[in-house]
Amino acid sequence: MADVAADHGAEGESERTPLLEWVAGAIGAILTLTLIGVLGWQAWTNPGDVPPEVTVRLEEVLPAGAGFVARIAGVNASPETAAAVEVEGVLSRDGEVVETARATLDYVPGHSEKRGGLFFAEDPREGDLRLRALGYQEP
């Protein structure tokens, strides 16, 4: 109500924009321009239609129940997002495959990583654990 009174009463008052409005507008403008800048940079550097490149990295191995869990991260080196990424861990000892575990990562966004886990009955730290992504779906 004070606002209304000021608007009708003092003509000079309504010409001046309060500092808070300037600041809030400026913050909004900066955020918007930053966002457009980031998006524009992505658009500029976008290589076009490239496939996702997902590699699987071993984070750590922990005991889980009677067995073990190997915590993994699917890392996407390409700007394209991969969906339904199937990852596989093959544990072998002395050249013989002991165990295979699989998991599916819902999404691995471009230049990002998503974590998951593979369960093993044998300790994956003993032996050779090979991790790889088997395939993906375009989102």
Binding site: M1, A2, D3, V4, D7, H8, S14, E15, T17, P18, L20, E21, W22, A24, G25, I27, G28, A29, I30, L31, T32, L35, I36, V38, L39, G40, W41, Q42, A43, N46, A73, P79, T81, A83, D106, Y107, P109, G110, H111, S112, E113, K114, R115, P139
Partner: protein, 278 residues
């Protein structure tokens, strides 16, 4: 100026309060049911990072306090009454979501306390906002006697509206899927559309006093002070909600920018229509 309303503090009886409480329950159910019937919300209850959940609940309390202050249904002009209103709304939100979760068999015996409490806590947020809003929306024509508008109050309302609408869609997988499907060019277009839409709402709903300003000053001032500032608020709220739900974990900044843009659209809409909703 605000007219004599029967719900002035001195005129408030226990019966009035009971009626308001029923309205609050109605609002809680109305605002919470879309999220109650969203699959992702069920798992969020137990999968959400606990610290983020606690922070979210605390911020919700601050939000309710602010809403009580801006649009206190009892014309409560004291911090004590505002706090009581906020706590009552939160309480209504918790009870309403717990009851509905039981009714839909989403919480039952055999679940851990952690899961049950988590589910109720997440659902209580939209329900409590609904409880707070209902007292105003479903109540007698009390829209006139709000507090005098201040710019800070408007910004707060925009944030509340943005949070509410963003929260309604943020848990769904569609939000991130859309972000993954869009190219950056689509996203830039969406930014422009969001701002234009926000401005159209701001201008047509006529945030108090804007229409009185002489000449072309009103347009640019409302664009700068409300539309741009409001979009900034919407972006920050979107980022916060995405972070709260763990959508940003391990995701590259570029992809986060896309998600923020996508969620920024409903957020901006929420900021624009905040006056009508909350």
């Amino acid at each position: 100026m605000s007219g004599q309303s029967k719900s002035e503090p001195q005129g408030l009886t226990s019966r009035d309060y009971a009626v308001d409480l029923f309205r609050a329950f109605g609002g809680a159910v109305l605002f919470a049911f879309p999220l109650l019937m969203t699959m992702e919300m069920w798992s969020l209850g137990f999968s959400m990072d606990r610290w983020r959940l606690v922070l979210f609940l605390l911020l919700n309390l601050v939000l309710l306090e602010g809403l009580a202050f801006v649009a206190g249904f009892r014309r409560a002009f004291s911090v004590k009454d505002d706090t009581l209103d906020a706590l009552a709304a939160f309480g209504v939100g918790i009870v309403a979501s717990a009851a509905l979760l039981v009714a839909l068999d989403l919480i039952s015996w055999g679940m851990t306390a952690d899961e049950v409490l988590g589910k109720i806590a997440v659902q209580a947020v939209p329900a409590s906002i609904g409880a707070m809003a209902a007292r105003r929306q479903l109540g007698d024509s009390e829209g006139e006697d709000e507090r005098p508008d201040s710019f800070g109050g408007e910004l707060f309302l925009m944030a509340a509206g943005a949070l509410f609408l963003a929260f309604n869609v943020a848990p769904t997988e569609e939000m991130i899927l859309i972000a993954y499907l869009m190219t950056p060019w689509h996203a830039i277009a969406l930014v422009v559309v969001s701002i234009l839409m926000l401005h159209a709402f701001v201008y047509s709903l006529e945030f108090s006093g804007q229409e009185d300003r002489p000449g072309g000053d009103g347009f640019w001032r409302s664009f700068w002070s409300y539309s741009l500032a409001g979009y900034g608020v919407a972006l920050l709220v979107s980022l916060y909600v995405l972070w709260t739900f763990g959508r940003t974990d391990g995701v590259a900044p570029g992809q986060v920018a896309m998600m923020v843009t996508v969620l920024g659209f409903p957020s901006a809409l929420g900021a624009a229509i905040a006056r009508l909703v909350v």
